[in-house]
C-alpha cells in the first residue's frame, strides 16, 4: 500500500488555506452596525414590545454573484427596516420577521429560494429579486402559488403585461427616456445621435429612444453601438461627428459612457452629451474626470436630495432614509437600497391595513396611493403594477465634480 501522507499533507494545506481565507474574508466584511444613540428613549414614548406569532415576509436578493453590488445594499435596507419596525412595536402588535434568501444571481437558485419561502417558511409576501432575469424566472411560481411578489428589478417585461400577483418598484427606462425627451423638446432640439451599449440595458434604452424621439419629431442622425468591454469609441464618435448632431445620447453603464465622454473631448465634439441613469453614480465622475463636466443625465432624486426644493414631497423621506441607512451600515446610501426600501415598505403598509393573508395583501397593494418612496411617488392600480411617472427622475448636470439639478 502506498503511503498516504503526502496526499494528506497537500489536502490539509488546501483545507487550512481555504478556511483561513473564508474566516479572514468573513471578518473583513463590514457588519451592519447598530444605530448610534442606543435603544429608543423609554421616557419619551413607551413602545409596547411586539408579541405573538411573527409576521413573516420573504426577501430574495443577489447578495453574491454578479448582482452583488445591487443585492447587498438591498439586504442591508431590509435588515434596517426589520430592526426599526420591531423596535417601534412591530406590525399590528406582532413582531416582523424578514427571511432573506441569497439567489447568487442565478435563475435556478431564485426558483428554489421562492419555493422555499412559499412552502417551507410560509411567508405572506416576497420582496425582490434584485435582477430582471431572476425575477422573471420566479414570476410563474408566485402566480401559481398566489403569493404577492414585489420586485426590485426594472425590466418592462415584469409589469407589462400586468400580472395579478407581481409588482415592481424600480423605474423603467421608458420613464427615463420620457424625462430626456421632455427636456429636448423644451430646448427645441431637432437633431440627435444615439450611441448605446450592446447589453440588455443599452439595447432596451436604444429601443425606447428610437420610439420616443420619433414620436417627438426629433431626427436621429446616426445610431452607433459599443460593446461593454470596449476601451475606445473614437471610430463611432467620428462617424457621429460627421453628422453634426446637436445632442449625443449615450445609454450604458460604466466604464463605456465615461470613455465616450473622454473621447468626445479629445475629438473636440461640442454637441451636448446626455447620459442615462445607468451612470448616476460617483464612479462615472471619477472615470471621466474633466470630461464629465456639463454632462446631463436623468437620475433618482436620492442623489440630489439636498438640492430639492422643500416643496418636493420626497425630500423629507429621502433625507431620513439616507441618514438612517448610513448610520445603520456605515456606508454611503445607494439607489438599489432605495428599491428594496420602497418594495418592502409598500408590502408592510399593505400588511398593516389587511393583515397577513396573501390575497388581502395583494388587494391592498393594488390600492396603494400616493406612497412617498425613495424612487418616486407610487400610485398603483389594477392596470399599473409599477405606479411611477417620469417625475421619479430628476434631470441633473455635472458641475465641479458634483450633481446639480438642471434648472
Amino acid at each position: 500500500m502506498r503511503c498516504p501522507y503526502p496526499r494528506l499533507l497537500i489536502a490539509s494545506c488546501i483545507v487550512g488555506l481555504a478556511v483561513a481565507l473564508v474566516v479572514g474574508g468573513g471578518c473583513a466584511k463590514p457588519q451592519p452596525q447598530q444605530v448610534p444613540g442606543g435603544p429608543p428613549k423609554v421616557g419619551e414614548m413607551p413602545v409596547p414590545q411586539p408579541a405573538g406569532e411573527p409576521i413573516k415576509v420573504g426577501a430574495i436578493f443577489s447578495v453574491t454573484g454578479p448582482g452583488a453590488p445591487l443585492g447587498e445594499p438591498e439586504k442591508f435596507a431590509a435588515e434596517m427596516i426589520e430592526d426599526a419596525v420591531n423596535k417601534a412595536g412591530g406590525i399590528n402588535g406582532r413582531p416582523l420577521k424578514i427571511i432573506i434568501e441569497d439567489d447568487q444571481t442565478e435563475e435556478a437558485k431564485a426558483v428554489l429560494a421562492a419555493k422555499k419561502l412559499i412552502e417551507q417558511d410560509k411567508v405572506c409576501a416576497i420582496v425582490g429579486p434584485t435582477m430582471s432575469g431572476t425575477t422573471l424566472a420566479i414570476v410563474d411560481s408566485c402566480q401559481k402559488a398566489e403569493v404577492p411578489l414585489f420586485s426590485c428589478a426594472a425590466s418592462a417585461k415584469i409589469t407589462h403585461p400586468v400580472k395579478k400577483w407581481v409588482f415592481s418598484s424600480a423605474q423603467t427606462d421608458v420613464l427615463a427616456v420620457q424625462r430626456i425627451v421632455e427636456y429636448l423638446k423644451q430646448q427645441g432640439t431637432k437633431r440627435a445621435a444615439i450611441i448605446c451599449d450592446s447589453n440588455a440595458f443599452g439595447q432596451s434604452g436604444a429601443e425606447q429612444l428610437r420610439k420616443q424621439l420619433g414620436e417627438a419629431g426629433i431626427q436621429i442622425v446616426d445610431e452607433e453601438k459599443f460593446a461593454t468591454k470596449d476601451t475606445d469609441m473614437t471610430a463611432q464618435l467620428t462617424k457621429i461627428k460627421a453628422q453634426n448632431p446637436e445632442v449625443i445620447i449615450c445609454w450604458g453603464t460604466n466604464p463605456g459612457p465615461a470613455i465616450i465622454a473622454k473621447n468626445m473631448k479629445s475629438l473636440g465634439i461640442t454637441a451636448q452629451l446626455i447620459n442615462s441613469h445607468g451612470v448616476a453614480n460617483q464612479k462615472f465622475i471619477e472615470l471621466a474626470g474633466d470630461a464629465a463636466e456639463g454632462v446631463i443625465l436623468p437620475c433618482g432624486k436620492l442623489l440630489v436630495a439636498d438640492e430639492l426644493p422643500d416643496s418636493d414631497p420626497q425630500k423629507a423621506t429621502l433625507l431620513k432614509f439616507r441618514k438612517d441607512y448610513e448610520a445603520f451600515t456605515g456606508k454611503p446610501v445607494n439607489t438599489f437600497a432605495g428599491h428594496a426600501f420602497d418594495s418592502l415598505q409598500m408590502v408592510l403598509q399593505a400588511i398593516r391595513k389587511a393583515g397577513d393573508d396573501r390575497a388581502a395583501i395583494r388587494d391592498a397593494l393594488e390600492q396603494t396611493k400616493d406612497f412617498v418612496g425613495i424612487t418616486g411617488v407610487f400610485n398603483l392600480s389594477p392596470e399599473d403594477h409599477n405606479g411611477l411617472t417620469k417625475d421619479a427622475f430628476a434631470l441633473v448636470v455635472i458641475k465641479n465634480g458634483t450633481w446639480t439639478q438642471v434648472k
Binding site: 496526499r7 444571481t105 428554489l112 439595447q203
Partner: protein, 323 residues
C-alpha cells in the same frame, strides 16, 4: 442470473425507491423542485459522463446545448405556436446536428481540441441568445413559455414535473447502460482503455467519439427543454460558461465512466449547495463559502478518489473486504 446482474438490478431498484419515496414523504414544492433540478442536471451530467469517461473528451459547452434545448422549445412554442413535445423533439434534433458538425472535424484530432471548440461554441451561443432581438427576447429573455401537457393534463406543478423528469432519467439510465453493451459501447470501452489498441482492431474511433458527443448534446437539449417548460421562462444567463464548468465538476465528483456517478455528483452538489445557503442563515460568516467548498471537494476527490465518489467508495469497500 450472474452476481453482477443481480447487483445492477438491486442498485436500480434502490434508486427508483428513493426517488419514489420523496413525494410520499413530502409534497413541499421546495423539496420537489430540488428533486427536479437534480433530475435535469443529472440528465446533462450522465451524457457528459459518457463523453468524459468513455471517449476521454471534455466538453466545456454543455450549458450551451442545454440552452439550445431551452431556447428551441421557447422559440418554437411562442413564435410558431408549435406543440411543446414537438418543439422539444425538434430542438433535440437540431442540437444533435450542431454537435455533429462540431464533432466531426475536432474529434479526428488528438488531444483536447473538443474542449476548445465547445468552449467557443458556448460563447457564440451565449452571444446569439443575447443579440437575437425579438426572436430570443434579447438579454431579458422570453417569458410565458407554455407547460408540457398530455391531452388536458398539464405538467404545471412541481409534483407533476417531478413525476415526468425522473422516469426520463431512468429511461436514460437504461438506454445508456444498454448502449455501453452494444457494438458502439464495446468500441468506447476499448477506446477508454487504449485508443491505439482500439484502432488496431479496426474500430473507427473518431466515429464512436462523435456518436457519444452527439448523444451527450441531445441529452443536454432534452433537459434544457424540460427546464424551459417547467420554469416557463428562458434568458441567456443560466446557459453560460459557469454552468458548463459546474457540470464538469458534477461528473468529476460523482465519477465519469459509470452511469450512476454523474447522477450522484449532480445530487451531491445540488444538495450541498442548498444546505450551505440554509446554513448561512445560522452562521453568516461567509457568503461565498460554496465556491470555496466546491474547490475543496474537487481537490479532495481528485486526490483520494480519482475515479469519483461511486467507484471510490465501492473500491474502498472491496479493499476492506479483501483486507
Amino acid at each position: 442470473m450472474s452476481a453482477e446482474r443481480k447487483r445492477e438490478i438491486l442498485g436500480f431498484a434502490v434508486a427508483v425507491a428513493i426517488v419514489a419515496a420523496l413525494p410520499v414523504v413530502t409534497r413541499s414544492a421546495y423539496w420537489l423542485s430540488i428533486g427536479v433540478f437534480i433530475a435535469l442536471h443529472g440528465i446533462v451530467a450522465i451524457g457528459l459522463g459518457l463523453l468524459l469517461g468513455y471517449a476521454g473528451q471534455v466538453s466545456l459547452g454543455q450549458a450551451a446545448f442545454y440552452g439550445m434545448g431551452a431556447y428551441g422549445s421557447a422559440i418554437l412554442t411562442l413564435h410558431l405556436g408549435c406543440n411543446p413535445w414537438l418543439a422539444m423533439g425538434a430542438a433535440a434534433v437540431a442540437t444533435g446536428l450542431i454537435a455533429y458538425v462540431i464533432g466531426v472535424p475536432t474529434l479526428k484530432l488528438h488531444g483536447h481540441y473538443l474542449a476548445m471548440a465547445t468552449l467557443g461554441i458556448g460563447i457564440i451561443v451565449r452571444i446569439l441568445f443575447n443579440e437575437g432581438g425579438h426572436i430570443t427576447g434579447g438579454p431579458s429573455g422570453l417569458p410565458a413559455v407554455p407547460n408540457l401537457a398530455i391531452g388536458g393534463f398539464a405538467f404545471d406543478n412541481d409534483l407533476r414535473m417531478y413525476c415526468l423528469a425522473w422516469p426520463i432519467v431512468f429511461l436514460q439510465v437504461v438506454f445508456s447502460r444498454n448502449l455501453l453493451r452494444s457494438r458502439l459501447g464495446r468500441a468506447l470501452r476499448a477506446i477508454h482503455d487504449s485508443e491505439i489498441a482500439a484502432r488496431s482492431c479496426a474500430i473507427n474511433t473518431a466515429k464512436a467519439k462523435v456518436m457519444v458527443f452527439v448523444l451527450s448534446a441531445v441529452y443536454a437539449s432534452v433537459a434544457g427543454s424540460l427546464y424551459a417548460h417547467w420554469v416557463n421562462f428562458v434568458n441567456p444567463h443560466p446557459f453560460s460558461f459557469p454552468f458548463s464548468l459546474e457540470l464538469v465538476v458534477m461528473v468529476m465528483v460523482g465519477g465519469a465512466a459509470s452511469i450512476w456517478g454523474p447522477l450522484i455528483g449532480a445530487a451531491a452538489l445540488t444538495i450541498i449547495d442548498q444546505s450551505l445557503l440554509q446554513l448561512g442563515h445560522v452562521f453568516p460568516i461567509a457568503e461565498d463559502l460554496d465556491i470555496v467548498l466546491f474547490g475543496i471537494i474537487v481537490v479532495l476527490v481528485l486526490l483520494f478518489m480519482p475515479r469519483g465518489l461511486v467507484r471510490g467508495l465501492s473500491s474502498q469497500e472491496a479493499e476492506r473486504r479483501a483486507g
